[in-house]
Symmetry: C2
């Protein structure tokens, strides 16, 4: 029944009714897809999205699980259409590209709308289940032979986009420039941009192909401002797909909000205007930027930071010292306050030596929501490694992407605390930065950003 | 039975007797390993090496097959020890690092021997089946949780190594500097080097970890001269693991020598001195560099080229024109002389228009062994993509690595033909180059290069 056959036996999950991501069910099955659930069922649906087609199994599993029911890396499929864009709550893929564009002189609202239409149509083709289609705009055939390989392509708008397209009346308050953090060492040529595209796939050629298609579709309308490459674990490389390590060797993302938690959707996504969640967000006040415009319903704000890790310095620290800087055990991510990798952090715990088990400047203390009036964000990062830097040390680190309904209640207050006070910050250098408004997902026949550009 | 369990059901092949690469058989099973077969059974054994533990199945399959019998990406294991070094005949992994070192001032033969010992011991640990060990020299824990993921680390010596270590008497004649090719645009800072290390793994963090271990082990003895990153398909992303595409979208490696062919071992590996193969190689003469020194028995010569692809120009060519430049159909790699991707090329075939089906300057004509007095090499490449170059076009292409028993009967005559005459060369730029003597593999307790450094 399948056009994809790599010799890997199908798993039991692949034959499940509702297991819509298998390669052989491009039609009706895909219609009742994982991402559709999200639009109708909210946060509980988000868990179902990434964990498996059978709703019961889906809700029980956490968002950072890879879709274990899928038979092969290539066949794994994340639908483009949905209430939210793909590439936010799904596990970060093995390969990622971030690219920012600036509109060409003279390209206004109409040209931008046509570009978002071309982009959306191309991504719809490239993310088809089974054998992906050919993007009308261009195809270099680099992805031929491969399945969709969990490809996601996510589109966002930078602050400068609105003036260039005569849409300043629709500029979200939340897109105010990020504050200057004293320890930042930002390269403006690799920061910001009118448009931002995040590409992820579990196959490097599928991701590269999507990047080239996105670039080609922009020709004449928008020029590349900056572009970065990243990576994560290959599915199946580890026994514990729930954990990811960064290039410092630390387990990362342990304390991320989980779709099973009641505040997940409110933390990550802009509520529909007039909804109860929207009213609650306004009432909460306290440093937030208030209600986002209606066109951002179902959307999110992405803070993008290229964070260089000073690995040669870090790697000279003894492991026990590294663990104190972070506040977690390196081997399994257990907090130094005790327990295992899944034990909640106890910031008050006093160790045998009479000192705080989690040091005063430990990264997880300073970054904790409890230390920041509940500020929280969904972190979804790629590691980067661009060889040897001009200073002779590894040009490597984290392409940090934080997703939140309001940056003023997510990244900004946390980074204000971290900048300088965090013991880890001595080993990091924020080299590039961007803030982008990522609208909700497109429905059938729609394109991403349509309600902004045509509303 | 397995310490690695990612929820993927084991395949039937994993339970086979002799399927020695499974995670649960680090002992006796691994002793009768795939790579060991190669040392005793020659070219036929090489097929068994990569295709499956059961000898019958192995010989039938081609070398470029991924080890399909392995249950998961992480558990796949390529032994470090063997008659040849690992990382030559095995399929190129999803992630690769190439790094060259220059010896520090004052570091001579003894320091180099100690470094190769540290390197070999570390790789032996990192490539252990099941749960890899901790390299004694250093461990940043970036690869924790992951299986060996088909990690290979391959060591080579550049021409300059021999003078710096007082070993000029053992310099292979075959390590003569490569000739100048008129179209080359080589950057000397990214070319050559005293020592060369090729790292490949199907998980990016496993590969990065190995790179950091290799660098750390060299501290004080050798400094990084240049370093490059590459990638290939993720196992399971495609339905056809036999084919790989480069960033031009072309199926690559179709015409590679295959371990099942009688000349394979003679093409790729230096024969043992005094062997029949050695005598035949000497007798063949004709442009070759004669017999390699005894310490190179079982070794190979690696030609490394960073080949930038001028993708923006290439991608503007219509597909039919691209196919004429290459001589193959883009979709499936079939030669324009007819047939399928596995049909031999017919260079004499006249098309319906009365012209040669494979054009006079088509890449596969100029590169064909038939056009080069039988010159052949095993190509095993990684794609690279380092973002946007200083000229605004993609800094992307191929980390081309050619393996042969004698560069004067492999890369050199072929590249002499290609340089300029090949229609494809207008879309390529050779930006860096290296030639390295890669000795045979280490046995138990040995280190790579021991017979050179202690012989």
């Amino acid at each position: 029944m399948s056009t994809l056959d790599d010799g890997t036996p199908r798993t039991a999950g692949d034959a499940r009714p509702g297991g819509a991501s298998g390669p052989g069910v491009p039609g009706a099955g895909a219609g009742f897809s994982r991402r559709r659930l999200l639009g109708t069922a909210g946060a509980a649906g988000a868990a179902g999205l990434v964990a498996g087609g059978a709703a019961g199994a889906g809700i029980a599993a956490a968002a950072e699980d890879r879709p274990a029911a899928l038979a092969s890396v290539g066949a794994a499929h994340i639908p483009f259409e949905g209430a939210h864009q793909a590439g936010i709550v799904e596990p970060a893929q093995a390969r990622g590209h971030l690219v920012a564009f600036d509109l060409a002189p003279g390209a206004g609202r109409g040209a931008a709308a046509a570009l978002l239409r071309r982009w959306s149509d191309a991504v719809r083709e490239m993310t088809r289940p089974g054998r992906p289609g050919t993007p009308a705009v261009y195809d270099d055939q680099v992805a031929d032979d491969a399945g969709p390989s969990s490809l996601t392509v996510t589109f966002g708008f930078g602050r400068t986009f609105f003036a260039r397209t005569g849409l300043t009346a629709r500029l979200p308050e939340a897109l105010a420039p990020l504050p200057d953090f004293p320890a930042d060492a930002l390269d403006p040529r690799r920061s910001n941009g009118d448009l931002w595209v995040q590409i992820g796939a579990d196959d490097a050629l599928v991701a590269f192909h999507a990047l080239r298609v996105v670039q080609r579709a922009a020709a004449g309308t928008a020029a590349v401002r900056w572009q970065m490459n990243g990576f994560n674990r290959t599915p199946g490389a580890t026994a514990r797909p729930r954990t990811a390590r960064n290039l410092m060797g630390q387990i990362d993302g342990t304390n991320n909000p989980k779709p099973s938690e009641p505040d997940f959707a409110r933390t990550v996504f802009v509520p529909a205007a007039g909804s109860a969640a929207s009213a609650a967000a306004s009432a909460a006040g306290g440093g937030g930027t208030g209600t986002s415009p209606a066109w951002m319903a179902g959307g999110s704000y992405a803070v993008v930071r290229r964070i260089r890790m000073l690995l040669d310095s870090w790697d000279h620290l003894p492991v026990a010292r590294q663990e104190k800087v972070i506040g977690r055990r390196k081997s399994d991510g257990a907090p130094l306050s005790g327990g295992t990798g899944t034990t909640p952090v106890d910031l008050e715990r006093i160790g045998a030596d009479g000192a705080l088990a989690i040091a005063g400047d430990a990264h997880i203390r300073v970054a904790a929501a409890a230390s920041n009036s509940g500020a929280a964000m969904l972190r979804r990062a790629f590691s980067f490694h661009d060889g040897i830097g001009t200073d002779g040390t590894p040009d490597a680190g984290l392409l940090f992407i934080a997703w939140q309904a309001d940056p003023m209640r997510g990244f900004v207050p946390v980074q204000r605390k971290l900048d300088g006070a965090d013991g880890l910050s001595r080993f990091l250098r924020h080299e590039a930065s961007g803030l982008f408004a990522v609208p909700g997902g497109a429905g059938p026949g729609e394109y991403v950003g349509q309600s902004l550009l045509e509303g």
